[in-house]
């Protein structure tokens, strides 16, 4: 399957060198970065040209402050910068671009409720609706908004990969805060969803794709009970999930935790045969990383 997937990914590269969410869509940072990371990890000659053009797209779209916008129609730095950092980390010649981006990422902070909002929450009895510690700061989807599990995880992966470039910043503190955010949002029986373990006293359930991403971000703390509980949750939920995205993130995660993935790779191939992953670039690229198994770009 991997050969077919590589061919499909290369065939959907836009003429500007980037990738969109699916064939024919405008190039954007998230999909271009993950596609470049996937193709680069292969170390195959047939992918060299695609990698080169994709890398050029990323470099051309980096903002002066080091960040990346969502796509070529936007300007403001976005959560997708973390993906670009991961992709370009594989290129020693682009270390300066990575350093600038990582320094920008360290400075990005999710926000917590202001004093007025906290008073309103208290008065209306909504202060504990989600059982979250609002004082913890991670990374947000939208600049200056609330911290969520997925963007925080992406940021942690990027910053942990680039720690050596960030000695003069408060990276260690931000990483520690980000980890605290993720552990705070864990579902009761392990695993994560977008970031609410409960709402109005009703427990919410974990999503395998997000659980895998969070565990990847916490891979250097693999022995912790929360990680192991969540790993068990991932194994259960992802296997019951009909999705190339969940299976691919799950396989990448299990590989990083030193677990066997042969059976998972078979499930990915079956999903690809059935759905072609709905033509989603991101899933296709993640499946290539999962199936390839070497040069995992998400290894910290």
């Amino acid at each position: 399957m991997i050969t077919e997937a590589i061919g499909l990914l290369l065939s959907t590269q836009n003429s500007d060198g980037g990738w969109g969410a699916s064939e024919g869509k405008r190039s954007n940072t998230e999909n271009t970065a993950i596609a470049v990371a996937a193709l680069k990890s292969l170390a195959q000659k047939s992918a060299t040209e695609g990698v080169s053009r994709g890398t050029r797209w990323l470099l051309q779209h980096q903002n002066q402050d080091g960040s990346w916008p969502l796509n070529d129609a936007a300007k403001e730095g976005s959560w997708t910068s973390a993906h670009a950092i991961v992709a370009l980390s594989a290129f020693p010649e682009h270390q300066e671009a990575v350093r600038r981006a990582a320094r920008w990422l360290v400075l990005q902070e999710g926000s917590k409720p202001g004093l007025l909002a906290q008073i309103i929450l208290l008065v209306t009895g909504k202060s504990n609706i989600n059982d979250l510690n609002n004082d913890l700061i991670g990374w947000s989807w939208v600049p200056n908004s609330f911290s969520w599990v997925e963007p925080t995880s992406y940021a942690l992966i990027a910053l942990k990969k680039t720690r050596a470039l960030l000695s003069e910043t408060n990276a260690a503190e931000r990483i520690s805060q980000g980890e605290a955010v993720i552990y705070d949002r864990m579902c009761k029986a392990g695993g994560w969803n977008y970031g609410n373990s409960k709402v109005l006293d009703y427990a919410l359930w974990p999503y395998p794709d997000i659980t895998a991403v969070a565990l990847i971000a916490l891979q250097n703390r693999a022995a912790e009970t929360a990680n192991q509980t969540s790993l068990a949750s991932l194994r259960q939920t992802a296997r019951e999930t009909d999705s190339g995205l969940a299976l691919s993130w799950g396989t990448i995660c299990l590989d990083l935790y030193g677990q066997k993935t042969d059976e998972w790779k078979e499930l990915i191939a079956k999903r690809f045969e059935k759905t072609r992953f709905l033509g989603e670039t991101k899933t296709l690229a993640l499946a290539i990383i999962a199936l390839n198994g070497t040069n995992n770009p998400f290894r910290i």
Binding site: V142, T241, S243
Partner: protein, 324 residues
Amino acid sequence: MKFTAAGSLFPALGACEPSRNWQRDAYRKKDSSRVAILPARRYDAPLKEIILKGIKLCGLDVKGKRIVVKPNLVEFDPKGVINTNPAVIEAAVDSFRFLGAASVVVAEGPGHRRDNEYLLSASGLYDVMREHKIRYVDLNSDDVRATPVRSSFTRFKQLYLPETLYHADLLVSMPKLKTHHWAGATLSLKNMFGVIPGTVYGWPKNILHWQGIHESILDINSSLPLPQFAIVDGIVGMEGNGPLQGEPKASGVLIFGDDLVAVDASAARLMMLEPGKIKYLAKAGDFLGNLEREKIEQVGERLDQVQQNFRVIDNFADLKKLTS
């Protein structure tokens, strides 16, 4: 601007804005609006016939039009009834094709999950789409276009909306008939949260909650760039702690109309909720459509014959005090 995880913190919408909050071109109220309520007891009923009848009763002409069908596909719980049933979506697409629509796509931007393949497969919609060769568009990751907001209930001056909406002639909102623990009820207007792209606004689309759920519903609906129609899946709805963890409520109806405010008002009355007490609906009745019972021409089933007592959580007990 600061945002948090909480739901709307400003429930007193309307209390501090005596002047008009919408632009002239956002005003859509007609002298009267027609809403059709048709019986559909089960999902294996002849739904295409029922939907064709509903479309005809509402005088909707789809010939040659490019149609975007927007179901409610937000999350999956094998024990729950969260999403618009695939059988209703299938019948709607069949009906539009039968009536000569130029194209029909199903499009959604799930509010909690990014994983479309999972949601489509688990809900059963994937098999329907494959069998009928229906194209699916993930509105969360669609290309986007900045759109000026035509009302001012939130602080958004513009919203990024999916390009797919700009390449269509009609947007068909197909919600599930459900109560909602932040908004009171989630129907065809609230269903439009799903057109807001997650890649821009995140998952969950919490930034809309912080701006106010009611306020966001109004600004999104006032700013949509194309005409709309609604088909509400009320065959089995949800009561209690909706929109995800409530209990099934068999109601045995489909509700149709081209005035989404009137459709939602009728649906609320059917659920025995007072539409004028659902804040976004009350305000929408000022400019987006007709809320008043006397301005809604009810066809098909008589409302009093199909009304069901939908339970709500304690915070919305006031909605059960019917006045209209």
